[in-house]
Amino acid sequence: MIPELGTGALLVALALCLYGAVMAGLGARRGRTAYVESAQHAALAVFVLVTTCILLLVYAFLTFDFSVRYVATNTNLGTPFYYRITAVWGALEGSIVLWSWMLTLYTLVVVLRHRTSARELYPWVLSVMLSVIAFFLLVMTVAAPVFARSMPIPADGRGLNPLLEDSGMITHPVALYLGFTGFTVPFAFAIAALVTGRIGDFWITTTRRWTILAWYFLSLGLLIGGWWSYHVLGWGGYWAWDPVENAAFMPWLTGTAFLHSVMIQERRRMLRLWNLALVVLTFSLTLFGTFLTRSGVIASVHAFTQGAIGVFFLSFLALVVLTSLALIAWRWDALGAQGVLDSVVSRESAFLLNNVLLVAAAFTVFFGTVFPLLSEAVRGIKVSVGAPFFNQVNVPLFLSLIFLMGVGPLIAWRRASLDNLKRNFLWPVLIGVVAALVFRLLGVRSTFAVLCLALTLFVGATIAVDLIRATRARRAMGERTLPALGGLLLRHNRRYGGFIVHLAVLVVAVGVTGSQAWSVHTETTLQKGEQTELAGYRVRFDGLRETPESNHGKVTGFFTVVAGRGTGDVLEPAKKFYPQEQSPIAYVDYRLGFIDDLYLVLGDFARDGSHATIKMQVNRMVSWIWIGGLVLTLGTLLAVLPERRKAT
C-alpha cells in the first residue's frame, strides 16, 4: 500500500508544482491576481502532500514495512525505535525527501509572510521556489525513487549503517538541510528582482533574516557534523577536509561573504551585481555539494550512493547557472554601481576585502576538492591533495579574515581619518602585539598559534572598545551600567548580534588553534592491570566484557583513569559487531573538558581479555568549538530580533 500511496502523492505534488510555477509567472506577467492565488493554493497542497509522504515513510519505518525497498535497505527488526525515525533520512532517497519537505515548508512561510509585503516580487519568488521543489520531486520519482517496491518482500531488512546510529543523526542533517534549503529563498528573491527589473535594495532588505537563518543553520550543521565526526568516527578529529565536508563548507564561505556584502549595498548602494552573483553562487554550491556527495564522483565516508542522480543534479545546476547568467546579462545596464569607493582605508574596502578572501577560500576548497578529477582528466593520472593542501592555503586566508573581523565593524565609512583609526584601534593593536610577545615568551612554538591567538585578542579588544564606549555614552545620560549595556544590545540588536557571532567565531578559532597545536596522542598495547600515561593522564586497563545489544554484539574495554583530571573515572571504549557488517565498528569513549579531552579508542584486543591495544588522545580545547556553537546561537537570535526604532 505505502509504495503506491507515496508514489501517487509525489506525482500529484509534482504536477501541482509545475502548475503553480507556471501560474505564478503568468499571473505576474498578465497582472492577474487570481492566477497567483491559484499558484498559492497549489503551493499549500504541495506542502500537505510532501508532508504526507514523509509521514508515510516514518510510518513505514515504524511498522517495518519492508515492501518499501528504502525501508528494507535502511532498517531491520533490531533497529531501535529512535533510529527508525532518523533512518528516514539515513540514505540518499530519504534525505532528498527531507530536503524537499523543508523547501515546501520554507515556501509555506514565504507565502504567509511575503504575499502582501513583497507584491511585485512575490509571484516570481513563488514561481522559482515551486520550480526548485519540482526538480526535487522529479528526483524523488525518477532518479532516486524513495517509494520503490521491494520484490519479493524480505522477511527482515538489511539494517541501518551503524555509523548513523547516533543522536547526531537527528540534528546534523536537519540543521544542514535547513541551511542548504534556506538559501533558496534569497536566491528566489534575487531571480524575482532580475525578472521584474526591481534590482534595487528591496530584495536584499526583505531577505536579510532569511539569509541569516540559512547561514545559521548551515553553520550549526557544520559544527554538529564536526561533533559527530569527533565522537563517532573514532579518529579524534572534527574536520578532515573530506569532500563531503567541503561540499557544505563552500556555500558557507560564499554565504558568509553575501551576509557581509549586502550591508554595503544597503548602506552605500554598491555591489549590486556582486550580491546577485554571490547569492546565485551560494545556491548553486548547495546543489553542487549534493551532486558531489550523492553522485559518487568523489566518494567518501558519507557518499554511500552512486547512480543516475549525478546527471540530474548536474543538469539542474547548469540550468540554474545559465538562467541566472542570462538574466544578469539582460539587466546588465541597470546593474551599474551608484556609490564609489573613496579610499582604501574605509569600511567599504574592509568589507570588500573580506568578500574577496571568502570567495578565494571557497575557490581553493573547490579546487582542492575537484583536483583529483581535474588531474585525471588532464594528465591521466590521479593525484589528490589532502589536508596539508587545504590547511596550507587556507590558514593565511582565515588569519586575514579574523584580522578584518576586528577592523570592519569599527573603521569609518568612506575614508578613515588617522584620528578615527587611533581612537578605535590603538588599544586593540597594543593588546594584540603584547599578547603575541607574551605567548612567544611563554614558549608557544607554533607561529600559527601565536598569530591566531594574538589576532583573536585583537578582535576581542575591538568589540570591547566599542561596547565600553557605547555603554559610557549611555551612562553619561544617566543610566546605570548594566541596563545601559542591555538596552544597547536590544536597541542595536543587529550590530551587537553580529558582534556576538564574531565572538563565537573567535571561540571556535581558539578551539581549532588549541587542538591543532597542542593535542597529543599515543598508541600502545596494555596487559590487564597495566598502565600507560599521556599528558598527565594515567590510564589502567582493567579487562574486557562481551554483551549482546538489540541489533549487535559489543565488546567493551574498561579503562580506569588513575591520575590526572577525573581520577577514578572508568572509560568504556568498545567495538560493536553488527551481523550485517563484516567488520566491527569502533565506539569511542571520552571525558570532555574545558582545557582538554581524554579520548580513548579500543584498537585490537585478545578475546580472553589478557591484553588490548588502545589509541589514547589528549585533545586540547576542542570543547571551545562546541561552546562556539552555543555563542553563535545567542548572537543569531539577537540579530534576527525585530529591529527597534532608533530614536531613544
Binding site: G234, T364, P372
Partner: protein
C-alpha cells in the same frame, strides 16, 4: 575603479595563485596500483596505494604495534609496514588503500590505512587494474 584597487586585486590574485601552486606541488599524493608502483618506485614520494591485502600475509605484533602485510593487484605485490592497529574494515582478502612512502629498503611505509567493504572489491582477474583504479576512486581520504 582607482588604480590602487586594481593593483591590490592583482596582488591578491597573484598571492592566491602562488599559494595554490605551492600547496599542490607540496602536498600532491599519487594514486597507484601495486604494478604501477613496482614499475617505477620513487623513494620519498607520497603515494596512495590501492589493492587487495594478500591472504596469509597479515602479521600483527601487539607488543611493538608492528603491522605488516602485502598488497597485490594480481600482477605485482608490494610489502607494506605500518605502526599501529589496523582500522575496523581492514582484513586479509579485502580491498584497502594505504597512504605513505616507498622506502629505499624496499617496502612501503604506510602512515594511514583506509579499508573498504570487500563487496565493493572483487578478487583480481583480467580486469584487476581497472578495478583497483575504481577502488582507489571510491576511497577519498576519510578520517585520519
Amino acid at each position: 575603479m582607482k588604480p590602487k584597487f586594481v593593483v591590490g586585486g592583482l596582488v591578491i590574485l597573484l598571492a592566491l595563485g602562488y599559494m595554490i601552486w605551492a600547496g599542490v606541488t607540496q602536498s600532491a599524493v599519487y594514486f597507484v596500483t601495486p604494478s604501477e608502483l613496482t614499475a617505477s618506485p620513487v623513494a620519498g614520494k607520497a603515494y596512495r596505494l590501492g589493492g587487495l591485502v594478500t591472504p596469509g600475509s597479515l602479521k600483527w605484533e601487539p607488543r611493538t604495534l608492528d603491522l605488516t602485510f602485502t598488497m597485490s593487484d594480481g600482477r605485482a605485490t608490494v610489502p607494506v609496514r605500518h605502526k599501529g592497529a589496523a582500522p575496523d574494515l581492514f582484513g586479509e582478502g579485502r580491498g584497502a588503500v594505504v597512504e605513505g612512502q616507498w622506502t629505499a629498503d624496499g617496502y612501503f611505509k604506510a602512515s594511514l590505512i583506509m579499508a573498504k567493504h570487500s563487496e565493493e572489491y572483487k578478487a583480481p582477474h583480467d580486469t584487476q587494474e581497472a578495478q583497483s583504479k575504481k577502488l582507489i576512486q571510491t576511497l577519498e581520504a576519510p578520517a585520519r
